[in-house]
Amino acid sequence: MSDLKTLTFAFMDPPFESERTVTFFRLLDAALERGASVRVFAYEGAVALAFARQAPHGNAVHGRDAAEEDHPLTREWIRALQEKAAAKDLSFEWINCGLCVDERGVNDVIDGCGRGGPPDLWRYASDAFNTLTIGTR
């Protein structure tokens, strides 16, 4: 617990499956809002949150084309948080579990999201002031 202003989060859920994903991103946003730097370890399905090929779509049931629908994408949420962190002169680091990426084929991730493994989670947690893990179900 050496850095007073860094929080580490570990998360396991993929996009578009669970309400946990929304709460997780809200926690990250709240951390930045309070002036804390953020480190994320994305484990298992959560590695798809940063997948660069996520694409918005229209929705005939909603009666809207792709532009009108403006579909949420987690890669854009990550980008928005990266931008918020930069504007506040905070760091926002994101590491995907590399094996989890490979087995899912989601290697193409947005800029600013790296690849690593469990030792990185331990390093993140050891260096941070505090850590929150959110498992999947």
């Binding site: 617990m1 570990a10 396991m12 484990y43 298992e44 493994g117 469990p118 030792p119 989670l121 331990w122 390093r123 947690a125 050891s126 505090n130 850590t131 893990t133 498992g135 999947t136 179900r137």
Partner: protein
């Protein structure tokens, strides 16, 4: 920094990942110097009384050749000095209380969890 890894679910991805992902994560972080303990609660207590390797899955022409070895994974942890606890009442609720515990696994009562939580710096609920 001492961390308690709480495994409350079991068999979540043991077929697909050929292990329990949190037992695997714990072994890997232990290798990186992590000061870790494991609490098996809820369905996680099943791991404390297993004796055999997981059954290989067969689907069509595909047969799993390397099913999970949860007994080995738990043994690796206990033999490397990671304390592993199982909740007594969770074993009892599931009719598992009469089965022998895997070597090195310690029983803890629900009433004893408060003390266990106080002996570590962080609790990581998975």
């Amino acid at each position: 920094m001492k961390v308690l890894q709480v495994i409350d679910q079991a068999f979540r991805t043991t077929v697909e990942e050929q292990d329990d992902t949190i037992l695997w994560l714990t072994q890997s972080m232990r290798g990186a110097g992590g000061d870790l303990q494991v609490l098996l609660s809820g369905h996680g207590v099943h791991y404390a009384v297993l004796n055999q390797r997981q059954p290989p899955l067969v689907l069509g022409t595909w047969k799993q050749s390397q099913p999970a070895e949860l007994v080995r994974d738990l043994t690796n942890l206990t033999e490397s000095g990671v304390p592993v606890y199982a909740v007594r009442e969770d074993l009892e609720e599931r009719g598992l209380a009469g089965l022998p515990l895997q070597a090195g696994v310690e029983l803890v009562s629900r009433a004893g969890l408060a003390d266990l939580y106080e002996r570590v710096d962080q609790i990581w609920q998975w």
